[in-house]
């Protein structure tokens, strides 16, 4: 270790101003500060400083994402082989059981997911470095988290080039034009996802993307899905309940059927327990509530994420879900409110997206409103606008934009309360 320290820091002068490799300073700074906390000492103000820095804070979030990532890898593999079991029952019939073929599923999942992560980090870090070189500073840590979040919000089959384009777009337009880490208005990872969602909707929604390899299976099967197979997600099915042709897990139901019957069918197809464990198709990281809550536990224990936001986000979803129940105009509105919390990206969004401190409300009371309205809006979008089966992404992006407004009112309350002290005194 001492040798490494010596080698690296002997190079210091070459990268400093006027040195031979001065232009490569940002790269050097990034690597050397990654390996060694610099010997910077305090100059002004407090002589001692807290042991924490942004590197450790951000690393905690990456650590918190690992359970969701690992589960996502397996889940990707499972749903691929589940589809294959319909296409080729002789060879893969047993794979429709969740725990059969563990090794094959892990390997398939890794092959699908790792490239996404590599592309996301490679493109994102490259863009960050370009801006770092322009501004003359090393890498700021924000992208360490975004780089992991972006693949986890994608369906496993999304083409790699799309991930690259979306990442570049999000980092440049979402962050760097505002000044870099800490300056962005909307969440980077959701910007990337929203970009693909609107630019390439066929790759991000519908019923052909949620199980990896769906398109190949359709091609092999002569243009349709094999009998008994379905490519839809729970949310997609949920949204279809409102339309003329309700579909649940591939079974077309009569639009004449009543709410109760439709919901019963839905509950049979999507067991809440499966949804909590995560045994349902969806974006890579979003399906397992247990894995997400493990991450949430770490973030809350370390205090990195705001419990106010997470709690109020779930509360908002629940309250608006119950509100929908009260109105009860159609089967979707009649759906039990708690279902919203365990399906789709709701939990993932609440724990990892809404809590991004840069784009969330920054006042303590503001965070409660921000989370509550975000969770509520997510449910509203899901139920009232079937064109967007997944409302969480749009809800959080919208709340990102609204956060400064919420903070403004919280600040105004503080100001008038402070003024009042002088009137009564």
């Amino acid at each position: 270790m001492k040798a490494l320290k010596k080698v690296i820091h002997n190079l210091d002068p070459k990268f400093e101003k006027g040195g031979k490799w001065e232009k490569a300073y940002p790269l050097y700074e990034t690597l050397s500060t990654f390996l060694f906390t610099p010997k910077h000492v305090t100059k002004k103000g407090a002589h001692i400083r807290d042991g924490v820095d942004l590197k450790r804070t951000m690393f905690m979030v990456v650590l918190a994402l690992i359970p969701a990532l690992l589960f996502g890898i397996y889940n990707t593999g499972h749903w691929h082989y589940e589809l294959m079991s319909h296409l080729n029952p002789e060879e893969y019939g047993a794979y429709s059981d969740y725990l059969v073929g563990f090794g094959d599923k892990v390997i398939y999942g890794l092959l699908q997911v790792l490239p996404l992560i590599i592309v996301s980090y490679a493109v994102g870090l490259a863009v960050e470095f370009i801006f770092g070189f322009i501004r003359g500073h090393g890498l700021h840590e924000g992208f360490l988290v975004s780089g992991m979040l972006i693949p986890l919000t994608m369906p496993a089959d999304v083409p790699l080039w799309m991930v690259g384009v979306a990442t570049a777009f999000a980092v440049v337009i979402g962050k760097e034009v505002f000044g870099g880490t800490g300056m962005n208005i909307v969440n980077i990872a959701l910007t990337a996802r929203a970009f693909l969602f609107f630019a390439y909707p066929t790759a991000m929604s519908g019923d052909k993307v949620w199980k990896s390899g769906t398109n190949e299976v359709i091609a092999d099967n002569g243009g349709t899905l094999p009998d008994g197979a379905s490519g839809a997600t729970a949310l997609g099915d949920m949204a279809s309940l409102v339309g003329d042709a309700p579909v649940v897990a591939g079974e077309v139901l009569s639009s004449e059927a009543g709410s109760a019957e439709l919901i019963q069918k839905f509950e049979n197809a999507y067991d809440p327990l499966h949804a909590i464990i995560g045994m349902i198709p969806g974006s890579i990281g979003e399906t397992s509530i247990i894995a997400i809550l493990l991450g949430a536990a770490l973030l809350l224990y370390t205090g990195v994420a705001s419990w106010r936001i997470i709690l109020s986000f779930f509360a908002g979803g629940l309250v608006f879900g119950l509100l929908m129940n009260l109105i009860g105009a159609n089967a979707y509105m009649d759906m039990p409110a708690w279902y919203h919390l365990i399906l789709g990206g709701f939990a993932f969004g609440a724990v990892f997206m809404a809590t991004d401190p840069v784009t969330a409300a920054q006042t303590q009371y503001g965070k409660l409103w921000y989370g509550f309205l975000g969770g509520g809006l997510a449910v509203l979008i899901r139920v009232l606008n079937p064109a967007y089966p997944e409302g969480v992404m749009l809800a959080i992006l919208f709340m990102n934009i609204m956060a400064p407004l919420i903070d403004h009112y919280v600040v105004q309350v503080n100001i008038s309360r402070r003024k009042k002290r002088f009137k009564t005194a």
Partner: protein
Amino acid sequence: MSKAVKLKKGLDIKLVGEADQVKVDSKTPSVVALKPSDFHGLVPKVILKEGEKVKRGEVVFYDKYNKDVKFVSPVSGTLSEIVRGDKRRILEVRIVVDANDEVVQKEAVDPSSISKEEVKQILLENGLWPFIKQRPLDKIADPSVSPKAIFISAFDSAPLAPDYDFILRDQDQHFQHGLNALSKLTEGDVNITVNGNGAPDKAFLNAKNVTINKISGKHPAGNVGTQIHHFNPIDKGEFVFTVNPQDVITIGKFFAEGKYDPSRIVALTGSEVENRKYYKTIIGARLDSVIGDSLTQDNVRVISGNALTGTAVGKDGFLGFYDAHITVLPEGDQYKFFLTEGWLSPGFDKYSSHRLFPTWLMPKKKRRLDTNLNGEERGFVVTGELDKVLPFDILPLQLIKAIMVNDIDAMEQLGIYEIAPEDFALCEYVCTSKIAIQEKVREGLDVIEEECM
């Protein structure tokens, strides 16, 4: 009417190296210095030349923009050197101490028997006025304003802070005398705030003609700014004067004896120094007279004041005008490998108010902290961390951002008149993005002074 307040927010940083409660005499310093940098915004006009003799209590310089505010020599001796910095700014006026101890002798006066103007005149003429600071702005009080109250904090809650109850023991008389003088300056009350969790000395508890308030909680409970905020908050256009307890005694002694007594009891603290005791010395003393050869190693930072707000002066530096505290910390100018002692280490040697290191489970353990920044400066990312250590009804992040963008209206509305840099020292300590918050607060106050006062 006395009040009591309990604070929920704040942070006590436990450091190794408290001073033992023993008072000893330090060596007589060979050199003392008056440092204009101890007084924010002061432009001094030195009236003595290098090589001239000066008596204890004789004027050395005055405030160029407020000629009534004078600064006197704490010793009898010879003005040896005027140390200048960039643009010939005066950094130190050094005086070599002689053995004669010639003193400027004035008449002793009972402050209760004279008028407000006369008290003010005596304080100004004899170099006592600079002991009185004002809020807002946290600088030497403007003699032309009339404060609505005077606040004296009877304790210091900063890391390793000296114990004023111990320092003031058996000095009640002079303290009361000083209070009598100060009470002339305001129409309102003289407020003494004692530590609700401690056993305040009788010098504080038996003080007359004052309001005694209690505050309990973690640091910055002992900061006078915190106390003013909770007991008598400052609105725009209002002023509150503040004085340190030991300086009240200096003022009291002058009225009782007619001569300037700059003696000061300071606590020598910190993990890198031995013989940690309370030393009797004088304002402006060169610190080698106190520290001697008690340093345990060479690579240290000697701070006049506490670890959060003090000034790094070096072992041959001089005691600050307002300081009763010397802290010696290890310098942190070493690289730290990321897995063993850096950002990804287990972190048993780190202290953090965040729960990202296991050490938050042992908040009472005393630690040896160095001066490493523990990271690099970044934009604000983490929110809510500053609020936890600021026991004010003030939104710290929003106020600092208002200062950064120079939005004067927002600064006023968010409470800049109530704060001083030292009140935000803990915010600076906890900041994940390592932003120099105290400096920002000072910049904001400077803007306010220029535009609004």
